[in-house]
Symmetry: C2
Subunit: 334 residues, 2 copies
């Protein structure tokens, strides 16, 4: 029951001039408190550094996505679920907000549900949200944060730069020189890191990069398709494309095949993620294996340890990526 | 607070010679009651037709799978999640048991979690489990039951027989005569219904069916691949294969391409499900659209209505399927 400040909830309520019941409603995310009062009482809680401890917790971990993308999301979920079920916990699945933050509603919901902890996937958590969760003693960890995670935020990522480097090196070793890169949004660190890996591999091999060859988009198949269509209809098209996700790679292959190009005969394609289906595509997809399942597992373990009051010495963990060579890459036709 | 029997929980406990607290533990799935006592007390509850009402419910729907298969499961989850979030509910995701029933542990877990209701996916629920959930006032619905659902079990399926018929007719109309069918497990009604649709289409066209052409397996890619390999290395191989799932179809295409056969040039392939990725395969997959998302939505709506005390007149609902013709089917070569 230790708290950073000596003040009890009743004392903070008295200071704020509200009843304990109102204070308690705010603490538990219950409705019927006006937004203004809520905000004012949150300030009191923050000023006292109030941290709730020992409150009854639901036996569950909440997993929050900003979108469910079948192949990708499911592997992360499976990782969290494995670790949770071994610990006798269930998981609550929530889709909320965008990749910058879950929606404000979500925060009230999670305070009502009182999970043991929260795993946020591919989403950031603004400072006020972090403070709220901390004051309620709800630990959290982030899988593959979209931006620079704050240094005090527990997070699990993977080696994006090395992945981009390995994918591009493989294409260079096959003899490709005109290599384009399609990646995710420009404001996501993972997109930037992968493209920087690509750049470094190209520079190390003294290969020029046409500015038009680097394309930011989303991680979906449609984006891969439209960027590839643009690239392949250029006068001097690339002979290889490094895609930012396996879905984008499927879009690229679809665009190639619409233009009568065969993969890997006329165009080599490397994906990213190594989703379960990658080896069932025809041709089987050469791709960078991102340990999505293990990332989910590690984030769940972090949350369980934090919930148990353990201190965690490494708040940031980057798991290794590696290239899996399959059938979608080959030497250029020339 | 109405109950079918007049007996209160205290009266039933007294009759059984245990304390109210022990009875209450059994009711709420708490541990520290021996299995034998638990079973004995369940019998007392059943005999009195005890139904708990009005107990506090967590604001969530529990979704139970026996396995998470990325593409397929995610669409059902999305459907449930949409309806749940609109109703201000969260979802709990559980993987448990096999396709005949969730594990016994699960049942205790769900009694502790007290969700508003349960959606079981692709799983059956044995009569004693149904009785337990009913006595706790936890409504449930089943998505695509594996066997004949009991007539009093709310369930949402889809028109499997019509799907099998439409897929096979399409192949026949293209001019195929040697058509094989790979489907799911022989003890699942949906597998049988799809194969019966296939048989009816073949019979209506006076086409013979070699017994070796009908193959039961699982719904995974590996199964599709091995059955297709066996079929395609026969002396007089089929020119078209109707697969029981899109994953199986990917396995079939993989087997064909390993034998140097092109799809649809040398072999036409029809899948089943129409998962999100089906249109991103190369060639794009011709497949039977099964409204997985809508099946999840309808099951969630059923559960919410039942939880609200509404009576539901149609306990069984079969949503329509339809064929989506894309690039993996064509007239036979010869």
């Amino acid at each position: 029951m230790a708290r950073r400040s000596g003040a009890t909830l009743a004392e903070i309520a008295a200071e704020a001039g509200v009843s304990l019941s109102t204070m308690s409603k705010v603490l538990n995310g219950r409705p019927d408190v006006s937004a203004a009062t809520r905000e004012r009482l949150e300030q009191h809680l923050r000023r006292h550094g109030y941290t709730r401890r020992g409150a009854q917790r639901a036996e569950m971990i909440e997993v929050v996505f900003h979108e469910l993308e079948a192949a990708w999301s499911m592997e992360v979920i499976e990782g969290v679920l494995d670790v949770a079920q071994q610990a006798g916990l269930s998981i609550v699945l929530t889709v909320s907000g965008d990749r910058h933050a879950p929606s404000p509603d979500w925060l009230d919901g999670v305070l009502r549900r009182r999970p043991l902890g929260v795993v946020l996937v591919f989403s950031d958590l603004p400072a006020p949200h972090r403070a709220k969760l901390r004051s309620r003693g709800v630990p959290f960890a982030i899988v593959d944060p979209a931006g620079d995670p704050a240094p005090d935020v527990p997070s699990v990522g993977s080696a994006n730069w090395s992945g981009g480097l390995a994918a591009t090196r493989h294409l260079i070793e096959l003899g490709h020189q005109r290599i384009a890169a399609i990646t995710g949004p420009e404001d996501m660190m993972c997109s930037l890191a992968r493209v920087d890996g690509y750049r470094s591999a190209m520079n190390a091999a003294n290969l020029p990069i046409d500015p038009d060859w680097i394309r930011f988009g989303d991680f979906h198949a449609t984006g891969g398709e439209s960027h590839a269509r643009a690239l392949l209809t250029r006068p001097n098209p690339p002979t290889a494309i490094f895609a930012g996700s396996d879905l984008q790679a499927m879009g690229v292959i679809s665009a190639a095949s619409a233009q009568g190009l065969s993969v890997p005969g006329d165009l080599s394609v490397v994906g990213y993620d190594d989703i379960d289906l990658a080896r069932w595509l025809s041709p089987q997809l050469t791709t960078v294996h991102q340990p999505l399942r293990r990332m989910g597992e590690e984030a769940a373990r972090l949350v369980i340890r934090l919930a148990g009051g353990e201190s965690v010495d490494t708040l940031r963990m980057d798991l290794a990526t590696h290239l899996v060579v399959r059938g979608s890459t080959a030497p250029p036709a020339s």
